[in-house]
Amino acid sequence: MSEFEPIYRALREHSREEPSPEIDRAIRAAARRAVNARPGGITRSWFQPMAAAAVLVLGVTTVLVMQKAPPTSPPAMSTAPAAEPTAGPPPADMAEKASAQNEARERKEEPIEYAERVPIMQPKPQAVAPAPAAAASAAPVSAAPVSALPMHVPPAAPPPPPPPGADQLLQRTQDAAAKRDQPMLPSEQSSRTGASSAAAEAEAPAPRAVEAAPMAASRAAAPAPERQLESAESWLDRLRALKQSTDSTRYEAELKAFKQAHPNHPLPTDW
């Protein structure tokens, strides 16, 4: 467009009109007002204090709610710690312990299964028995504590045949310990599912269950896993707490259960 440059030059020379100073001042003032009153600046000015206040209120509310909430209930006192400290057992138990260890070696897998089946912490002893598939696994089979095992051991004599519908009854009552010790007829074993049969096979037979009590005692005296040791100690701690409380009935019941589960465990002299 260089050919039209003279036209531009001539027009620019004679085009001197400009807006009035009042308009200039008004526009410049509007520009400054807009910069000084930026909406973003206003937002930023209250955003951080608002956020801090909201966090503070939420935190205080959370703490108050946690304080007013009931404390979490401790594990049920029927928890059966399966181990005791390695404190020296009485000499009379040493022979029994040795024989139990020999027997455990002969059984190979069974002692391991038995030890794995011993529930370490059972929050609810009356809880529903686990499914048969779960029973076959390494998870705790029974909700009953170890201390209950000797009480449910049938006599060494050949057990009577189970009543009809024993399985349903056992499931209804959820007495897993009785279920474990109950001998089954071959027909019943074949009628069960594969999983439940495997679980039943994993159980100790009745004659061996008779020996379970001394085994448990001797095994408790033997070096136990650390978690079981801690479980017995924690049980004692709870017993101490119960003793100091006014609930003597519960304390006595728990003490009895502890003695059954850990007959060789030394107790405080004042108990």
Partner: protein, 187 residues
């Protein structure tokens, strides 16, 4: 520090809150934008009103300005839209002229040689130029003013006026040819 910052830099600074940058920007474009309106409306008061509206709109929309866009193009796009809006509201104005691409069918606005602003020109040449400009069809006149006062190229004229590149180029060439003929006739 750069003594002559570009429009782009000044607008960025103004977006960031630098009011002094706006003052520089305003001083740089105030005359051209004002004359852009003054050459296309009937009175000085209307030109000042439209002029102030455009700057107010620019201030309000400063945060929406994209650095990829040329400031000149953005400013005169706002001006073009405001002018079209003015024509649409003014029953006497022929806004339809700006919406038609058939520039041969457009009518030239009434001569403004009798207006006080034009009569006040001290020199005859200036009066002749203003008269010739006033006789241009509105689209051609706007294209010419966008080039003369805004310093826009053909592409920027097309963008600001919302028309195609070829239409903008044609309008500008028609306007320049007529202006050259007017100057020769007057001379």
């Amino acid at each position: 520090m750069n003594a002559d910052p570009s429009d782009h830099t000044l607008m960025l600074r103004y977006q960031a809150g630098d009011a002094a940058a706006f003052d520089l920007l305003y001083a740089r474009h105030r005359g051209g934008l004002y004359r852009y309106f003054l050459r296309q409306v009937k009175t000085r008061e209307i030109a000042e009103e439209l002029y102030q509206d455009v700057w107010t709109k620019l201030i309000a929309a400063r945060l929406s300005w994209q650095p990829s866009a040329q400031f000149n193009t953005w400013l005169y796009t706002l001006a073009h839209n405001r002018l079209i809006d003015h024509y649409r509201r003014d029953a006497r104005a022929r806004a339809v002229e700006f919406e038609s691409d058939d520039i041969e069918q457009l009518h030239a606005p009434a001569s403004r040689v009798d207006e006080p602003s034009v009569q006040a020109q001290s020199r005859e040449a200036a009066a002749a130029l203003q008269s010739a400009l006033a006789t241009l069809p509105a689209p051609q006149r706007e294209a010419f003013l966008l080039s003369l006062e805004g310093g826009l190229g053909v592409a920027e004229i097309a963008s600001s006026a919302g028309i195609g590149f070829e239409a903008a180029k044609s309008r500008l060439r028609y306007a320049l040819n007529k202006m050259r003929l007017a100057l020769k006739a007057y001379a």
